[in-house]
């Protein structure tokens, strides 16, 4: 059953991917990217990766379509020369596909417990997590503690990408800096649509609450800072859509966005420095409390919070940068 479901979803994935590449209208391409992301999440779920599927869901449903549309609104929506085949490229691509497919015959089959990837550190993680950290979600344990350096690096990358977007597009200034008529001219929100407005106002608290649940429940079920940050940002994007960007920027001001972006990464790094000051290694949470296991749990809780803050800040700042450019 599982394997048939998987094959089915993967085939759809390939069809949609070809559809994206062949779409003449870029808007169509962006919409198909939405389906691509949904299929990806379903595939991850079928392959027993609940955390990854939740991340794909949070990012794909709430953020990526909105961002791509925000970029597309600033430029013409069509490719100039639709549907021209590039024969050389097609040849190269076909040849490489065949080579990669040939190479896969050496790979272990799907789900083979003897595959090399399952022989290395993974069994150790699965075995030692209950003893050393004592939280049910091994993915969170590996993310926060065993491979904390990695995660810190990724957070810095996200932060850098956010800074890069702000360098290129500029963050909208504080609300006072804009002339009122300038703000009134851009009717870039859905305030006059009553139904989305009422419903959005109703749902935003639930979305934000759910984001907090995902953030702090990450040690017990699928979730964590990355997912929670994306969901929280999606909630604020929804607010920005229905109440106007100006209102949204009054709640989370550009200054606050900066503090969120940098603060999260600093919090993460700060925990590392703190553990060093307390006599442990960098990001060695054992020293944070009397009991090493409690220390580990505290450390993971704090760094996940840092991750969540940075991801929220970066995604929101990127959204506002694109939206402000459109006015």
């Amino acid at each position: 059953m599982t394997i048939i479901l998987g094959i089915f979803l993967l085939t759809l994935l390939v069809i949609v991917a070809i559809g994206i590449v062949q779409a003449e209208d870029l808007f169509t391409g962006v919409m198909l990217t939405g389906i691509f992301s949904l299929l990806m999440a379903a595939n991850f779920f079928v392959l027993d990766a609940a955390d990854v599927a939740l991340t794909e869901a949070a990012v794909g449903a709430g953020i990526s379509t909105v961002l791509l549309l925000g970029g597309l609104a600033l430029m013409p929506g069509r490719e100039r020369r639709p549907r021209k085949m590039h024969w050389l490229a097609l040849g190269v691509v076909t040849l490489t596909t065949m080579m990669v497919v040939y190479a896969t015959f050496e790979k272990p089959r799907l789900g083979d417990p003897q595959a090399p990837v399952h022989q290395h550190v993974a069994p150790w993680y699965l075995e030692m997590t209950p003893e050393l950290i004592d939280i049910p979600n091994v993915v969170t344990a590996v993310l926060g503690s065993f491979r904390g350096y990695d995660t810190l690096g990724e957070v810095i990358v996200v932060f850098t990408a956010g800074i890069g977007v702000l360098f290129l597009l500029g963050l909208p200034g504080a609300v006072g800096e804009r002339r009122p008529e300038e703000l009134a001219a851009g009717r870039s929100y859905l305030g006059h649509h009553l139904i989305p407005q009422v419903l959005g106002t109703l749902l935003i608290p639930f979305i934000l609450l759910f984001a907090l649940y995902v953030q702090f429940h990450g040690e017990y079920g699928p979730g964590g800072g990355f997912q929670a940050g994306a969901i929280f940002a999606a909630g604020m994007v929804l607010y920005s859509l229905i109440a106007g960007e100006r209102e949204a920027l009054m709640i989370i001001t550009p200054r606050t966005l900066m503090i969120l972006m940098a603060g999260g990464a600093l919090l993460f790094g700060g925990v590392g420095v703190l553990t060093m000051l307390l006599g442990g290694g960098f990001l060695d949470y054992n020293v944070l409390a009397q009991n090493p296991v409690t220390g580990q749990q505290w450390g993971i809780l704090i760094i996940e919070l840092g991750v969540g803050l940075t991801v929220t800040g970066v995604l929101l700042a990127i959204y506002h940068a694109f939206a402000a450019r459109g006015r």
């Binding site: 649509h193 419903l199 109703l202 639930f206």
Partner: protein
């Protein structure tokens, strides 16, 4: 008894979901497709989720499923509204109204 009820809900739900899919594919105009897809979407979804809730009994999972059903019940029609509005805004006039104008 529970099994029978849950079977019934899941089967009718699946029927509605399929009808919606066929309607989405086969209806002749955009607004007809919108109509076919949005109505069956809400009903079929609710029935299937109810069918699972009956199976789950009174657990945390059931509460989550009720929340999912509630949110889908709210967001589905809103999305349809937003979509129809976007279509209308960019000048796609329903066919029936075109006939009236003649």
């Amino acid at each position: 008894m529970t099994d029978l009820l849950s079977w019934l809900l899941l089967l009718t739900g699946s029927g509605f979901v399929l009808t919606g899919g066929i309607g989405l594919l086969r209806m002749p105009t955009l607004y007809a497709r919108l109509h076919a897809a949005s109505l069956t979407d809400t009903l079929g979804t609710l029935l299937i989720l109810l069918g699972i809730i009956v199976q789950a009994g009174f657990t945390l999972a059931a509460i989550k499923l009720i929340a999912i059903a509630l949110f889908l019940l709210l967001t589905g029609p809103t999305a349809s509204y937003a979509l129809a509005n976007a279509a209308l805004l960019s000048g796609a006039v329903p066919k029936a109204r075109l006939l009236d104008d003649l």
